[in-house]
Symmetry: C2
Subunit: 142 residues, 2 copies
């Protein structure tokens, strides 16, 4: 049987982990690269992909897959929650707590172990400025 290699503690991995420890909303690979580059000049994108994959495998991160967008990543220790996607400004918000109830029975023989919910609509900022959208590639915590 294969024995798992011992994982090493490098500057790069530490920096990438730090990015997620200091940030709330879900981040894209590019976000992580940009932020971590502030600490480590020559950081390569492949390293970010590898580190994020490793952190996801070990359960520190989880992927946030929203329709039609790049995969984002966020800490896995935030507890069960869902995301709100503003259809005007494209921002992604986190909705604390699970506001969704899957009611009614599944078909016979089916067993649910989890669910993903994405709610679409207009965020507070876009609701206020009815005219042109803020159009920021932003995200927020709610």
């Amino acid at each position: 049987m294969q024995k798992a290699p011992i994982e090493r503690d490098t500057r790069q991995k530490r920096a990438i982990r730090d990015v997620f420890e200091q940030t709330g909303p879900p981040l894209s690979i590019d976000d992580v690269l940009a932020t971590a580059k502030a600490k480590i000049a020559g950081l390569g994108i492949a390293t970010v992909y590898r580190a994020v994959r490793a952190l996801t495998d070990e359960g520190f991160l989880q992927a946030v897959d929203l329709p039609g967008r790049l995969t984002l990543y966020e800490r896995a220790d935030k507890g069960h929650h869902h995301h709100f996607l503003c259809t005007t400004c494209e921002a992604v918000y986190e909705l604390d707590g699970c506001t969704t109830e899957v009611k009614g029975a599944l078909p016979r023989g089916f067993h649910a172990t989890g669910h993903d919910v994405t709610i679409y609509g207009t965020c507070a900022a876009c609701g206020r400025t009815k005219r042109s959208a803020p159009k920021r590639e932003g995200r927020g915590r709610v």
Copy 2:
């Protein structure tokens, strides 16, 4: 102002539309290409992409974006429903009707216009055969 060009009725478009008219579960681009090729030998993948995009724009199709999978497409006239993703055999099932209730208030100023729900778990087939999964790249209607 730009005037929209008049859309032509071609064999290719008809064949691609037919694929969706004769099929229940969501299809990938490759599914559509494979099926439509039975009718039109030299059909190119670019044509499938263009036709599916056009059919989506005109409201005949809608995209089904499930985490970690290719985008699938299904007829838009099926009414509001969600999808069940079997984590064992990877099959996608349609759940008729909306079995989900988004309760609780959104944060102040937020307005919801829609939602997507994906339920994960084990399908009836995989629940039965506890051992190795059927591992079909299949889908079903429930």
